[in-house]
């Protein structure tokens, strides 16, 4: 059976499974739509959280960035797992004890202010929509490869599917579907990694293989890789970062953002007990860590295979490079999507892939008769999907990876749309504009806001402000700068009052947004940036993706100082804080 047919069958079967589950567990009431009736076991909840969490950014994009940035991209690995420690200790158990449905509800009640609630809703929507833009980039890549069309068409088809999918079910449908999606995506990620690790190092576990000997050359894999890339003028793979402050803040920003993202926090409202909320964070990280500890091996090994596929022989030898006519099938497929482009600059019919920005290597390249890097476009986001094909793995593995990539993108996009929908319908329409709205009306408002959110995200996803993981990192920065400090202070510092919280959130998100828009364009519209997005222009060398940590610091300071110079919160609020600090008395969730 050819690859295309097989891919259609595997992807089709996985979709049928998700949709089947969604219909079987269709949401009936509003409470089920948002929080699945709180009947979800911690292990199941952990698995669903992992699927929800590991989006196109983790599955499709991250290992690709690791492949091309090496050590520097470790910030994604630490940032997107370390946040769970903060979540488990600083937020999850207390929010579960509080026992309402959404994050803005907590902020509104704790800071006894409708304004605080509205500000939280706005912050949440800004962060979530940015996140969905990143997902749409990933969806575009996955669908364009799967259907063998250009990325724009892929994106539009993907958008339609995400929309239908998210509107169909509520949280409950999504919870069980996400368990299924987790299973599909984790197999899709680890099986090719195991195959490739066996091929390159003979080690069954990719986590071990990365630090083992490269069988073909007899030297450690990472040493060999360092040599392969530096021989062609690229930066050493394991080299230490050139910008320590940026790496530090970037990592911190992703960690705080993880703990501030509403679609993750909302998961901890769905467990039966406070004690379970603590366990759930651990289980979620177990399932996430399986992918995250595999990703560095996927990245390094994909880079190795890519380099060696193109540089087939000695560097500089006339026949040392792959002939364009003899390029493998995966190369052709990705050319169709426009995410991989070749240009025969020196007209020798062979592919030269090297770093032509490296001045030290330029003289050498010239002496070989090379006229510049001929791989003019290598979108980092294609690496994970192309990886099994580059390694020449069996067709069923390639088909499985396609299904996994789509599962990752779909599950997160749906979870985020849920968070946006509940923020608009529950926190804005029902509590602010129209408290008497019927359940039907509320569900309608939820679905309408999903439609608007996805339309905006798809539009901006056509010209995304970076690779999928980078766009998603921006969303984390925004969540870090706004939501996390407000919730954390709300639990740990009784003295914080409404004025402090509101001004803190506004200061944090405004400064972070302005910083991002300066380099990425106003509302991410290309061509409207005030300064070119490069290190020389950044404030203290801090990239827009890393600035969320600074925004969070500003939020903390403003909230604290303003609270200290204004009136203390009323007594009943201080009692509320006392009560969420102890697990006893956590009942079922109450809707108000």
């Amino acid at each position: 059976m050819d690859l295309k047919t097989l891919t259609y069958i595997v992807v089709g079967a996985s979709f049928a499974l998700y949709i089947g589950i969604a219909i079987w567990a269709r949401a009936g009431s509003t409470s089920e739509f948002y929080a699945a009736g709180r009947g979800v076991h911690p292990v199941m909840n952990g698995m669903a959280t992992a699927a929800d969490w590991m989006s196109a950014a983790s599955f499709i994009s991250m290992a690709g960035l690791i492949a091309f940035q090496g050590y520097d991209a470790s910030l994604f690995l630490m940032g997107w797992t370390g946040g769970y420690v903060l979540l488990a200790m600083l937020l999850a158990p207390y929010l579960r004890k509080f026992g309402k449905f959404t994050v803005p509800e907590f902020i509104g009640d704790r800071f006894y202010s409708q304004t605080a609630r509205i500000v939280a809703v706005i912050c949440l929507i800004v962060a979530s929509i940015t996140y969905v833009i990143g997902q749409m980039k990933g969806v575009g890549v996955a669908f364009s490869r799967f259907l063998e069309v250009d990325t724009t068409t892929g994106l539009l088809v993907g958008t339609g599917i995400v929309f239908v999918y998210a509107v169909l079910g509520g949280m409950k449908g999504i919870t069980y579907t996400q368990v299924a999606q987790y299973i599909v995506l984790i197999f899709a990620y680890t099986i090719p990694a195991i195959f490739i690790s066996m091929n390159l190092t003979g080690s069954f576990l990719p986590q071990i293989g990365l630090f083992s000997e490269h069988t073909a050359s007899g030297v450690p894999l990472l040493m060999k890789l360092d040599q392969v890339v530096t021989d062609l003028g690229f930066k050493q793979y394991t080299a230490y970062t050139s910008n320590t402050l940026n790496m530090f803040l970037y990592t911190l920003s992703l960690m705080i953002g993880t703990a501030g993202l509403p679609h993750v926090i909302i998961r901890f409202f769905t467990v039966p007990k406070v004690a379970d909320a603590r366990w759930s964070a651990g289980w979620a990280l177990v399932f996430i860590a399986i992918l995250y500890t595999t990703a560095p091996s996927v990245g390094a090994m994909a880079r190795m295979n890519l380099m060696q596929t193109i540089q087939t022989g000695e560097i500089g030898a006339p026949d040392g490079n792959l002939e364009y006519e003899a390029r493998p099938q995966w190369f052709k497929s990705w050319e169709t999507t426009g995410l991989l482009k070749f240009e025969d600059k020196n007209g020798d019919g062979r592919i030269q892939y090297y770093n032509d920005k490296n001045t030290d290597f330029a003289a050498k390249a010239e002496s070989f008769g090379w006229k510049g890097n001929e791989m003019v476009t290598v979108d980092n986001d294609i690496m994970v999907l192309a990886n099994p094909e580059i390694a020449g793995l069996p067709n069923w593995v390639i088909a499985l990876v396609a299904a996994g990539g789509l599962a990752a993108a779909l599950s997160t996009a749906a979870g985020l749309l849920m968070a946006i929908a509940s923020a608009v319908s529950h926190d804005l329409v029902k509590s602010v504009f129209n408290p008497n709205i019927s359940e039907k009306g509320e569900l309608l408002a939820a679905r309408l806001s999903m439609a608007v959110a996805i339309a905006i995200a798809a539009y901006l996803g056509l010209n995304p402000p970076g690779f999928a993981a980078q766009v998603v990192a921006l969303a984390f920065g925004l969540a870090a700068a706004s939501i996390f400090p407000a919730i954390m202070l709300g639990i740990f510092v009784k003295r914080i009052n409404s004025a402090g919280a509101i001004l803190g959130m506004l200061a944090g998100i405004t400064i972070t947004l302005l910083y991002i828009f300066t380099y990425k364009g106003w509302f991410f519209v290309p061509g409207t940036e005030m300064l070119a997005n490069k290190r020389e222009n950044w404030f203290l060398g801090i990239s827009p993706e890393a600035f969320g940590a600074v925004g969070a610091l500003i939020n903390f300071i403003v909230a604290y100082v303003v609270s200290m110079v204004t009136k203390a919160p009323p007594a009943h609020i201080q009692e509320l804080v006392e009560s969420i600090r102890v697990p006893r008395g956590a009942g079922a969730a109450v809707d108000h």
């Binding site: 030297v219 004690a275 008395g585």
Partner: protein, 87 residues
């Protein structure tokens, strides 16, 4: 009532101490060994690279996992000890 309050205070203090300990380890494993201390530890080799690289791409994640489960076990024990667990 006052007795209950002071036991509540002690519970919270114990929780804070536990969180502080965990977050110190959290920061040392990731920001410390994975980033800031890497140049200083470059002499410690592991599988073709140095220990800092390993912590940045593997080790920190394992430490996070252990921390969360450690915290959950200790907290659930504290809940019982101070009589604030969910009955």
């Amino acid at each position: 009532m006052s007795e209950q309050n002071s036991s509540g205070e002690q519970y919270w203090k114990a929780n804070m101490a536990l969180i502080r300990l965990c977050l110190i380890i959290w920061a040392v494993a990731s920001f410390g060994l994975g980033i800031l201390l890497r140049p200083m530890l470059s002499g410690v080799k592991i599988g073709g690279t140095d220990i800092g690289f390993w912590f940045a791409q593997q080790g920190s994640i394992y430490v996070f996992l252990i921390l969360i489960f450690f915290y959950a076990i200790r907290m659930n024990a504290l809940d019982k000890k101070f009589g604030v667990d969910e009955e």
